[in-house]
């Protein structure tokens, strides 16, 4: 109890000392909070996107087979499905039809995809919510696109994909495969790529090896590679934002270090007086430790909470464009919180610990010196 009271008196004194230089200390708190806010926002947003990508793309095809011609992705003949022969472990194989269409009206790229399971009529399409927004379309409206022969082709909107799936469907236009082929002028014996379903995921790598031997002009893309790609992309983007922030971070480190580690003559005098009136070195160290902790813990809590509100209640407006990407067709979605305790602990350690330690070292030097020398 005595110990607790003692610490409370020390906090009282520390707060009074901070209040004496309120302008300077409030400025420090503000900048400190801003730095934590920026770092935490990037961290929370990237983690959320990374998790959502990992969870949804878990259902992507196990193996995609692309044909490469002169180093570029080319259409793959349907007979490659037979040419690949019997592959143990592959339960299903079929061709996919998809491609891009540049719409000069809104200067946006759409992804057109054959989706026969939707059972759309010959001139019916299902569109992503992003396309509907960009072109101001509703169910029953007509969308006219210029086919590969240069003829305007009118489609009727039969379905708008659920807006909750925008992260995966914003730019999609789904249509029957026969319509897709006639629109792009693709022969019946060609596909964009092939999708293979593998019963046992442990076998995918072996199957991919066999595929590259049997079909040397193809490239298999495994689901695990897709997942790795997204993990790498978000790590990279988080890194890039941190690099961009690093100049601000360095400025803050210099400022905080200067403020925390360099004792002014006034502070030295204060320590001397405290010692002269009976404070021992431990009290002075504890008081300074509290000073560092008051500023850094408050800044950490404020910064983290603001970052949480910014990312999950304001859809990370400040840097969503950098982390998500940007284009005319832009998915609107709310990030799903994916909070990683270890990441918060790391952020806490790297924001609170260095500042608190920086305040202690010079004070320790002054506190162990003779009060008379310190005051002179």
């Amino acid at each position: 109890m005595v110990l607790l009271q003692r610490q409370r008196y020390l906090i009282d004194y520390t707060l009074s000392a901070l209040y004496r230089h309120k302008g300077k200390n409030l400025g420090l708190l503000l900048v400190y909070t801003l730095i934590v806010f920026l770092l935490a926002s990037v961290m929370l947003f990237t983690q959320s996107l990374r998790q959502e990508a990992a969870r949804t793309l878990q259902n992507a095809p196990e193996i995609i087979v692309q044909r490469m011609v002169a180093g570029r992705h080319a259409l793959i003949p349907a007979d490659y499905l037979e040419k690949m022969g019997r592959l143990r472990g592959v339960s299903e194989r079929h061709g996919r039809l998809w491609g891009y269409f540049y719409d000069p009206v809104v200067k946006a790229n759409y992804t057109l995809m054959a989706a026969d399971h939707k059972q759309l009529g010959e001139r019916d399409i299902a569109i992503g919510a992003g396309v509907a927004r960009a072109r101001g379309l509703e169910i029953g409206d007509r969308l006219s696109l210029r086919s590969s022969r240069g003829e305007p082709t009118s489609f009727r909107i039969r379905e708008i994909l659920h807006p909750d799936t925008e992260l995966l469907s914003a730019d999609l236009i789904l249509l029957p495969s026969a319509t897709f082929r006639s629109f792009f002028g693709i022969a019946n014996n060609l596909f964009t790529d092939l999708a293979l379903t593998v019963r046992n995921p442990a076998e995918t790598r072996k199957i991919a090896e066999k595929l590259t031997l049997r079909l040397p002009d193809t490239r298999p893309i495994l689901r695990e590679e897709i997942l790795r790609t997204y993990d790498a992309i978000f790590n990279w983007r988080q890194g890039i934002v941190f690099v961009l922030l690093s100049s601000a971070l360095m400025a803050f480190v210099i400022f905080a270090w200067d403020k925390a580690s360099g004792l002014s003559a006034e502070e030295k005098r204060e320590i001397g007086i405290l010692k002269a009136i009976g404070w021992d070195s431990n009290d002075i160290l504890a008081m300074k430790l509290w000073e560092g902790a008051v500023v850094s813990v408050t800044a950490f809590l404020l910064g983290y909470l603001l970052a949480y509100l910014h990312v999950f209640h304001a859809s990370a407006e400040l840097f969503s464009s950098v982390l998500k990407g940007w284009a005319t067709l832009y998915p609107q979605f709310k990030p799903i919180p994916a909070i990683d305790g270890l990441q918060i602990a790391t952020l806490f350690f790297f924001t609170v610990f260095p500042y608190t330690v920086a305040t202690i070292i010079p004070v320790w030097r002054a506190a162990v010196s003779d009060p008379d020398t310190v005051m002179r």
């Binding site: 590679e225 408050t298 949480y308 990407g325």
Partner: protein, 95 residues
């Protein structure tokens, strides 16, 4: 009120807010569970491979399906002109 009381109250309020944010995160995850199911069904049904996060070029729309030499794929060492491309990581062997 003593200054230390005010400060400790402030820290207590902020800590409670932090705990509430974790609770809020859990609730939001539960609320968005349907969305994840819907997204997973869409991915499985349409056999999607990529997120719609940059639609400006084919290699940024479908990152995982892009050619080996993306993003510099117009010709060797062509300078990138799409903003998202410059945010793609280089091949792992280069760094």
């Amino acid at each position: 009120m003593r200054k230390s009381t005010t400060f400790l109250l402030l820290i207590a309020v902020l800590t409670i807010a932090l705990l509430l944010s974790i609770l809020d995160a859990g609730m939001r995850r539960t609320q968005t569970a349907d969305r994840l199911v819907m997204e997973a069904q869409l991915v499985a049904g349409l056999e999607l491979t990529d997120l719609v996060i940059s639609t400006e070029a084919r290699y940024t729309r479908h990152w995982s399906q892009a050619d080996y030499h993306a993003a510099f794929q117009d010709y060797p060492s062509a300078l990138e002109h799409f903003p998202a491309g410059s945010l793609l990581p280089p091949p792992a062997r280069l760094y």
